[in-house]
């Protein structure tokens, strides 16, 4: 297993979210996963209008409500209180997943346990005995959303690679990830493998290769 170079930190989580948000085009319909991906909404550049899809039945999610104004019937996929913007729409689950599976959502941002260089994604279970398997909408999102972005730390806390030649955890979907945004770099999944799109300040491609268990091509390859 590769391990991250000690001392190479790259982007903070906020900076990772900000970097990803730069790549969301004006007018996009976007689904943000639970956890780190939720940060992305804060950093969409001014002047771009993005409509957030919430898989439990809301198009047009707004910012979190002020404390004391939470409505338990207005929540996101992580079951946290949200708001609905003027112009929002509510709908039932079959319609919501028709939006997802039917290719109507432009982009989603997901966390991951592992991503393979061919775009295979593992983000729902380690498959360990005694773990409670729970898949939610992840398999539908990766099957249907046009651009699937992963936002995650480049390695595990223990320094083990999460970007691999092949995933070892059970898959969420095959060949489904388009881009990977980590604390070290932005990588694109191409038919020939992973290619650097961007490097965090002070991070070299050799640092990225050191932390990745798959070949990484430079941006100009």
């Amino acid at each position: 297993m590769s391990t991250a170079m000690p001392g190479v930190r790259g982007w903070s989580e906020e900076e990772m979210a900000r970097r990803l948000a730069l790549d969301i085009p004006d007018g996009a319909y976007v689904n943000l996963g639970i956890g780190l991906p939720e940060l992305v909404a804060r950093y969409v550049p001014a002047g771009r209008e993005v409509v957030y899809h919430v898989e439990n039945g809301l198009l047009g999610m707004g910012p979190p409500p002020p404390e004391g104004h939470e409505d338990p019937d207005l929540i996101n996929a992580g079951k946290k209180a949200v708001t609905a913007i003027p112009g929002a729409a509510f709908f039932h689950h079959a319609d919501s997943f028709a939006m997802i599976r039917g290719g109507h959502i432009d982009l989603c941002v997901l966390g991951a346990m592992q991503v393979a260089s061919n775009g295979d994604l593992a983000n729902w279970t380690t498959g360990e005995p005694g773990s409670i398997p729970a898949v939610g909408g992840a398999m539908d999102l990766v099957a249907g959303v046009r651009a699937v972005c992963v936002l995650m730390q480049h390695t595990t806390r223990g320094g083990q690679a999460k970007i691999l030649e092949r995933c070892t955890y059970p898959l969420t979907g095959r060949r489904s990830v388009n881009r990977i945004y980590t604390n070290l770099a932005v990588l694109e999944v191409t038919p020939h493998g992973l290619r650097v799109v961007d490097l965090a300040p002070g991070v070299t491609i050799e640092d990225v290769r050191q932390a990745t268990d798959a070949p990484v091509m430079p941006a100009d390859a």
Binding site: F90, H93, A134, G137
Partner: protein, 236 residues
């Protein structure tokens, strides 16, 4: 005259038999018909198969039904939520069966069940462990899985407002699985906060047409599940 209202949650679930398949609406606590579920706990029907997105939290609502030993099997997309203790414990002990279904596949299997479609092909889950044993067919160069429709003996759903015909409106993201579940059960039982006279719901805003609903029970101020969980309450 058609009047689908019944006087109480107990009356609404009084004939749910042992071994029934029961759809239960809700995404977490949003849309979870907690008074109907508690009435089903009181009713005591056992050996149930539950079709629901989650498996409840704390020891109230769906978690209480499971804790009470009434559930043999769940068909579910996400049986592991914050403050979910009962299902994980029984699952690890091998005392409850789980059929794990991607959330969109769950919704579509229910929709298909209500729409008279026995099965359909979907891209979700292809190449994963959830595809094992399922027929794969290629359309346009891409693989799809055959998934079968779900129907139930009973659906328990929470909506906001009804009339005596069973026309329904919902409230925000509490709508979630309600409309599709209403269509897919032999007996659809709905709790609402408000009953209005026919015409009190604009026909343009009806979400579930009354034909899909068999019983309506008014629960004017439903209990908030998360509050019961925070208070450490159990049912019964």
């Amino acid at each position: 005259m058609i009047d689908k209202t019944v006087p109480s949650p107990a009356a609404a679930v009084a004939d749910v038999p042992d071994g029934a398949t029961v759809m239960i609406g809700g995404f977490g606590e949003a849309g979870s018909p907690i008074e109907l579920i508690h009435a089903l706990v009181d009713r005591g029907a056992r050996g149930l198969t539950i079709i629901s997105n989650n498996t409840g939290s704390g020891e109230v609502g769906l978690a209480a039904l499971i804790r009470n030993g009434q559930v043999r099997r769940v068909i579910c997309s996400y049986p592991r939520t914050a403050r979910s203790v009962v299902f994980p414990e029984l699952f690890r002990a091998g005392r409850i069966e789980l059929e794990l279904v991607p959330q969109g596949t769950l919704a579509e299997r229910i929709r298909a069940g209500g729409a008279g479609i026995p099965a359909f092909f979907t891209p979700s889950g292809v190449g994963t462990v959830l595809a094992e044993g399922k027929e794969v067919r290629t359309f346009g160069g891409r693989e799809f899985l055959l998934e079968h429709a779900l129907r139930a003996d009973v659906a328990l759903v929470k909506a906001r407002c009804a009339d005596r015909y069973g026309n329904l409106t919902y409230w925000k993201t509490a709508r979630n699985f309600g409309p599709v579940m209403c269509t897919a059960a032999a007996r659809t039982i709905v709790q609402v906060e408000r009953l209005v006279a026919p015409g009190g719901i604009d026909p343009e805003t009806v979400v579930t047409p009354g034909i899909f609903v068999h019983r309506v029970v008014v629960v004017p101020t439903p209990t908030q599940e998360s509050q019961l969980v925070r208070e450490g309450r159990r049912y019964p």
